[in-house]
């Protein structure tokens, strides 16, 4: 970077340029981050509204609000939009894009053009998949054979959409890996990298290497429907469970594509608001890679009752328990960071604490499901629904909201109303628990998932869950309004409102077009809180 001689006399924030083309043709990683943020958030809200409709149907035992077929369509829409449009690219691509170059001290990602191309491919994929979904579809987001090979909804179009989305995911992962290897500022050694970067790096590896397998799986499903290939069709000598094996080889690591970036976010928020160095930096950093690696070894725990062999089921059940180790390492280290810290309950910190609490419940219930004997009873019940939402909302979405509140001043150069943010958090947290905690009991009592009606004995817990969803929805509504009104009328954000030591906070808010006037020389890690530097502030 020595050849960079032109001085930036005038500070021009990256948000300055206006106009549709300046956005859709941008190669600025921060703008691409915003493109992802806006798209994924809109899809999140849409799929959230669909979830509210589903919960409304479940208010009473009878299938009275929508008919069972419509209910199938609704949960397929909810699952597919949440998984493919929001939660896979959500944190990884939006905050990944915004933060990686800022945190490692680079002007942009390694391949800026490829970066915007990845976004276009994402849009194309969402368009194709949406058309297929709205036709409508009833396969669930997993496209299990043999149903997906025989149903007369447009599975070919949908799976092709997912294939295209996968391309976007692969290219984003590739870009971030190369960026992390090649674009770090001088002195930014691996062990000085912010933990969000470690998390993004682990996520990128999964995006890069797991996605192609689902790509070929879905292509095989397409040929099954178009060319009469019989890999998944028992009548032709095929094996429907083979589809599940291939599908989960991607889709289990995909779960970690969803959660690892959120873990990275938590590792950034906790030390700042505890005013303490992060505890166990290396343990957290390498446990990200550990989770990524182990995630490749556990896929068949989704298939214990699908008809896989007992031997395989036992091996996979055992391997599944291994995931608990790196995950617990993270939780212990975050908790140890909190210990004796001078904790400030900023809204971002509340989301981070919410993450630790809820994700731990999600993780521990996952151990039940990983245990072969328990899973046979709990599989495909509301217990799984509750577990999965504790990880995905309690984990990823809490991390997403935390990141949104934490980096909001940096990203947009404005402040939101902190009191309203805290109130919104309260409703989100309470609403979430009221919605999903009863579902653990429903599951244990045997209520299966994906049904529009249910026996009357479950009515009290089911309606409680529905009331909870209203509280949760209200909380999110308040949060969205608060963040949007902050954009319009919020006060100007200072450069570094939380006295963070990370590189992105040392430049103006919002950052200028190429981030750094001069590429910084890094001399220390970013977690030296409560030490000398603190006194200067």
């Amino acid at each position: 970077m020595a050849n960079h001689t032109i001085a930036h006399d005038v500070y021009v924030p990256f948000l300055e340029k206006k106009g549709f083309l300046s956005w859709i043709l941008t190669t600025d990683h921060k703008r691409i981050g915003i493109l992802y943020l806006v798209s994924t958030s809109l899809f999140f809200l849409a799929a959230g509204i669909i979830a509210l409709l589903m919960r409304f149907e479940l208010l009473t035992p009878a299938s009275d609000f929508v008919d069972p077929h419509t209910y199938n369509v609704l949960f397929t829409l909810h699952g597919s939009i949440m998984v493919f449009f929001f939660i896979v690219p959500g944190l990884a691509a939006s905050f990944g894009n915004f933060l990686i170059p800022l945190m490692i001290g680079a002007r942009d990602v390694a391949f800026p053009k490829l970066n915007i191309a990845s976004y276009w491919i994402y849009l194309l994929g969402t368009a194709i998949l949406l058309v297929g979904l709205l036709k409508p579809a009833d396969t669930g987001w997993t496209f299990y054979t043999p149903y997906s090979a025989t149903t007369n909804t447009d599975v070919v179009l949908m799976t092709f959409g997912v294939f295209v989305l996968g391309f976007s995911s692969i290219l984003t992962g590739l870009n971030f890996i190369v960026t992390t290897h090649k674009m770090r500022a001088p002195g930014m050694t691996w062990h000085r990298l912010p933990l969000f970067i470690w998390a993004s790096y682990a996520t990128s590896i999964l995006q890069l290497l797991a996605t192609p397998v689902v790509g070929i799986t879905l292509l095989l499903l397409i040929t099954e429907r178009t060319l009469g290939v019989g890999f998944f069709d028992p009548a032709k000598g095929g094996d429907p469970i083979l589809f599940q094996n291939f599908f989960w080889f991607y889709s289990h690591p995909a779960v970690y594509i969803m959660i690892i970036p959120a873990m990275g976010v938590i590792s950034e928020i906790i030390p700042v608001f505890s005013r303490k160095p992060i505890f166990g930096y290396k343990a957290i950093a390498y446990s990200s890679l550990g989770i990524a690696f182990i995630s490749f070894l556990v896929w068949a725990h989704h298939m214990f009752v699908s008809g896989i062999s007992e031997t395989a089921a036992m091996i996979f059940s055992f391997l599944t328990f291994l995931v608990a180790i790196p995950t617990a390492i993270k939780v212990f280290n975050w908790t140890a960071t909190l210990y004796k810290g001078s904790i400030q309950l900023h809204s971002a910190m509340l989301y981070a604490l919410g993450f630790i609490f809820l994700f731990t419940i999600g993780g521990l219930t996952g151990v039940f499901l990983g245990a072969l004997a328990a899973d046979v009873h709990l599989h495909d019940t509301y217990f799984v629904v509750a577990h999965m939402h504790y990880v995905m909302i309690g984990g990823t979405v809490m991390g997403f909201f935390g990141a949104l509140h934490f980096w909001y001043p940096k990203w947009f150069g404005k402040m939101f109303n902190e009191t309203v943010a805290k109130i919104a958090w309260f409703f989100v947290f309470v609403g979430f628990n009221v919605t999903f905690f009863p579902q653990f009991f429903l599951g244990v009592q045997g209520m299966p998932r994906r049904y529009a009606s249910y026996p009357a004995e479950f009515e009290s817990l089911m309606s409680l869950s529905t009331y909870g969803s209203w509280i949760l929805g209200f909380g999110i509504l308040v949060m969205v309004i608060n963040l949007l009104s902050g954009l319009i009328s919020g006060p100007k954000a200072p450069e570094n409102p939380y006295n963070s030591l990370s590189l992105e906070w040392q430049i103006p808010s919002p950052p200028p077009h190429e981030n750094f006037e001069e590429i910084p020389q890094v001399t220390d890690w970013t977690y030296g809180y409560g030490k000398k530097k603190e006194l200067e502030v």
């Binding site: 770090r184 290497l209 083979l242 094996n245 490749f296 070894l297 068949a300 007992e310 395989a312 091996i315």
Partner: protein, 103 residues
């Protein structure tokens, strides 16, 4: 910037002669593998064919693709996918062939 010895790697140019030798080796291996396929070694046929193919693939990767001269991180990302492929095949195999009723 992680810049170390790029210039020296940039400078490495394989000679035509090396390439021709590698090519000759590849052709010999191709002849061997075709020839062997006409002889019945039972299940060993698969093993031999795959061993020869892997040898050829290694030659292509190491010399034609310059892997021999790349840094360790390239090696990691060249080999890790192969490990995953191995994992996918073996574990799917374990499932399929230990079922009570093999489909």
């Amino acid at each position: 910037m992680a810049s170390h010895s790029h210039s020296e790697k940039h400078a490495h140019i394989t000679t035509y002669k090396t390439y021709l030798i590698v090519w000759a080796a590849l052709m010999v291996l191709t002849v061997i593998t075709v020839y062997v396929s006409y002889v019945d070694f039972g299940t060993m046929n698969v093993v031999i064919a795959m061993a020869v193919a892997s040898l050829k693939a290694a030659l292509v990767a190491l010399f034609f693709m310059h892997l021999k001269f790349e840094d360790s991180i390239t090696w990691v990302f060249a080999i890790f996918p192969l490990g995953l492929l191995f994992l996918l095949i073996t574990m799917t195999f374990v499932d399929t062939f230990t079922r009570v009723v093999v489909p």
